[in-house]
Symmetry: C2
Subunit: 372 residues, 2 copies
C-alpha cells in the first residue's frame, strides 16, 4: 500500500423512491424503488461544504478509489483520488455512485422488477443523463449536502457534470467536464448504434430477456471491441502494437495474427464477465439522447457563479477537442467563469484515465480557488 | 443515357489454372481452376499500348462503368470511366476484374470446390493482395497486353496498383494509388478484426459452412455498419445527418431514433443481399496482410521508369494522408517519378468515389504525359 493510497473502502447502498414515491423519468415513466451503489472517500466537514461528486463513464462504477477487502483491484480513478492527489481526501469528501441503468449495484435492467420478481430486462424504462443526475441528487440530499464543491467526470461523467450545472445550478459551485460533449455528433451516435446492433443481433440476447440463460457473450464482446478502438488513438495503437505478430509468422488462417487482434479479443471477452449487455444498451442510448446545446444548457446561468474547468485531449477523436471548445464557447456566451485546457496526449479518449500528472496539476489549482 | 456514358456493357469470364496447372498462392497453397469476372471498356489499340487496369476496393466488383442489359445500376466508378471522362474510353482500353476471393463472378469461398462439388467455404485458401495481382496478371496475359499504360485504384484498389508495380515493374508504365497505404496500421487491422469477429460471432456463420442455410445476416450487417462509419468523416456525417430525428420525437425505445441510425441499418442489411460474408473475411485479411513498406516495395525500382500519381484526401481518417505521404517518401527515396496531391474534401474515405472533378483533372493530365 503506497502511503498516498486510500485503505480499504466499502460500497454503500441508498434506496429511495419507494412506491408510491416513484422516481419520475424524462421518458414520462416512473420507477421505484431505486437503489444507488456509492462510495465515499475522506470526511465531510461540519459545514458540509467540501463534497466533490465524481461521475463515471460508460462502463464505470461506484468504486472510484481505494481497494475492497475481498478484491485488491484499485478503483478506476485511484490515481486521482486519495491523500495528496488531485481530489485530495485530506481536504475533500469525495462521492462516487454507480448510475441508474448500470449493473454495479444500482438499479438497472438486470435488477429485480418488484412487479414480476424477475429482472426488468427490456421492461426497464429508458433513462437519460438527466435521470442519472436526478438519482444522484437524491444521494446528495441523503448525505445532507446542500451545495457540491465540484462535480467532475470524464466522457459520460462529464455529461453528468454539465447536466448537474444545468439542472441544479444553485447546488454546484464548480464543474470539471473532461473529454466530453454537450451532445453526441452523428459519428458518436453511429458508433453507439453499431454497438447496440451488435448486442441485439446476437440470438443469445433473446430480445433482452436473457437473464435465465446467460449473457449474449459474442454480441457484447464485439460491441466492446468497437468501443476499445474508439478509446485509443491511431498513434497510441501504433506505439502499443504497431504490426507486431503474436507468433513468428502469419498463420494464413482466421486467427488473431496481430497483437492488436489478440488485445481486442481479450478485452472484448473479458468485458462480458463484468458488464451487463442490457446496461450497455441503456447507457449508450442515454448518452445519445443528451443535448445540452444552445438554450438547453443552464437557462439561468447568469444567476449562478459556477466555475468551470473544461479539459480535452488533442488525440481524442471520439470526443474531439472541438466538442469541448463548443462547451467553452457556450459557457463564455453565458458569461460563466471558464478555464479551458486542450492537453497534449497521444492516448486518445483514454487519456482522461491516464494523463494523471497534467490533470492533477490543473484540477488541484482549480479546486484551491473555489470559495466554499 | 448521357452522351458521355458508356452504353450496355457485358461481364466476361476468364478461367485459367486448370488442374494440374494450379495458381500458386503466397500461403504455399495452390488453387485451380480460377475464374475471373471482368469487363472492358473502349478499344485496345493495335500496339496494345493503351490498356488501363482499374482495381476495385473491398466490396467492389468487375462492373466499374456503364450499365448491364438487365440492371440499370451504373458501374461503381461510372463517373470516372467513359467517353471524355478521367479514363477516357475514346483513348484508353479500360479493364476491371473482380478479385480472387470475391463473390461477384471470380473464384472465391462461395465458389464450387471441384474436389467436393460444394462451395469451398473455409476450405478456400487465404489469399493476399499479391495473389489478387497474380490472378489479374493472367487476365492481362490473356488479353495479349505486355505493358499496362496504368494501374489505378482507390483503397484496396490502390494496394493492388502498388503491388503491380512491385511484382511486375516491367509491365506497368504508371500507377495511380488513391486513398491507400503500403500497409495497414494497427487501427486499420483493428477495424477489420472487429468486422471479422462480428461475422464469425453470428451462429448463422456456422464456422463458415453456411451456404446451404443462408448468410449470417446479422453479423454481416453489423460488420458493414462498422465499415460505413469509417468510410465517412465526422464532418460529412454532420452535414448529412446532424442529429436529425426520423420522427418528431425521441421514441424512448430501442429503435432507430436518429437518421444516422436508420442509414446504418439500411446500408448494413442491404449489403447482406449483395455480398458474401466469407468473401468479406478473406478480403479484409488480405488487406491486413499486405506490407509493402521499406524494402518489400519494388526492390528494382531503379531499373524502371514507372510514373506514380499518389492521391489522398484530407478528411480520410481510415486511410489518413500520412499513409499516402509514406508511399511518396518511399518512392522518392527510390528515385521514382512521383506526383502527390492531398485533396481537400469533407467526404472522408468515400471521397475517392465522390471527388470526381478533382480526380478527373489530375488523372487526365497525368495520363496524357505517359509515353506509350
Amino acid at each position: 500500500m503506497k502511503n498516498n493510497s486510500l485503505d480499504i473502502v466499502h460500497t454503500q447502498y441508498l434506496t429511495f423512491a419507494e412506491p408510491p414515491d416513484m422516481l419520475q423519468l424524462k421518458s414520462g415513466r416512473r420507477i421505484g424503488p431505486v437503489t444507488l451503489a456509492y462510495e465515499t472517500y475522506g470526511k465531510l466537514n461540519p459545514a458540509k461544504s467540501n463534497a466533490i461528486l465524481v461521475c463515471h463513464a460508460l462502463s464505470g462504477d461506484a468504486h472510484a478509489a481505494g481497494i475492497h477487502k475481498d478484491d485488491k483491484t484499485p478503483g478506476w480513478w485511484d490515481d486521482m483520488i486519495g491523500p495528496g492527489k488531485a481530489l485530495d481526501t485530506r481536504l475533500y469528501f469525495v462521492i462516487c455512485s454507480n448510475v441508474i441503468g448500470g449493473c454495479k449495484g444500482s438499479t438497472g435492467p438486470s435488477s429485480i422488477n418488484p412487479e414480476t420478481s424477475k429482472p426488468y430486462a427490456l421492461d426497464f424504462p429508458l433513462i437519460t443523463i438527466a435521470d442519472m443526475v436526478e438519482a444522484e441528487r437524491h444521494l446528495i440530499d441523503h448525505l445532507g449536502i446542500e451545495k457540491l464543491l465540484c462535480v467532475i467526470g470524464g466522457s459520460m461523467g462529464g455529461m453528468q457534470a454539465l447536466q448537474w450545472t444545468s439542472a441544479y445550478p444553485g447546488r454546484v459551485l464548480s464543474a470539471i467536464p473532461i473529454a466530453t460533449a454537450l451532445k453526441h455528433s452523428p459519428q458518436q451516435i453511429a458508433f453507439n448504434e453499431v454497438i447496440r446492433q451488435s448486442i441485439m443481433a446476437d440470438p443469445a440476447w433473446r430480445k433482452g430477456y436473457y437473464y435465465e440463460h446467460g449473457q449474449p457473450e459474442n454480441g457484447l464482446a464485439v460491441a466492446r471491441m468497437i468501443g476499445h478502438i474508439t478509446f485509443m488513438s491511431d498513434q497510441s495503437m501504433e506505439e502499443k502494437f504497431s504490426r507486431k505478430l503474436k507468433n513468428d509468422n502469419l498463420s494464413f488462417q482466421f486467427v488473431d495474427d496481430f497483437e492488436v487482434e489478440g488485445y481486442l479479443r481479450y478485452r472484448g471477452y473479458n468485458f462480458v464477465k463484468r458488464f451487463d449487455a442490457n446496461s450497455y444498451l441503456y447507457i449508450t442510448k442515454a448518452m445519445d439522447y443528451l443535448d445540452l446545446s444552445g438554450e438547453n444548457f443552464i437557462p439561468d446561468i447568469k444567476k449562478t457563479t459556477i466555475r468551470f474547468l473544461v479539459i480535452s485531449f488533442k488525440s481524442d477523436w471520439l470526443y474531439p477537442s472541438h466538442q469541448s471548445q463548443e462547451i467553452v464557447r457556450l459557457l463564455k456566451r453565458k458569461h460563466a467563469y471558464t478555464t479551458y485546457f486542450d492537453l497534449i496526449s497521444t492516448y486518445g479518449h483514454d487519456a482522461f484515465l491516464i494523463e494523471i500528472d497534467d490533470e492533477t496539476r490543473l484540477i488541484k489549482n482549480f479546486l484551491a480557488n473555489i470559495e466554499h
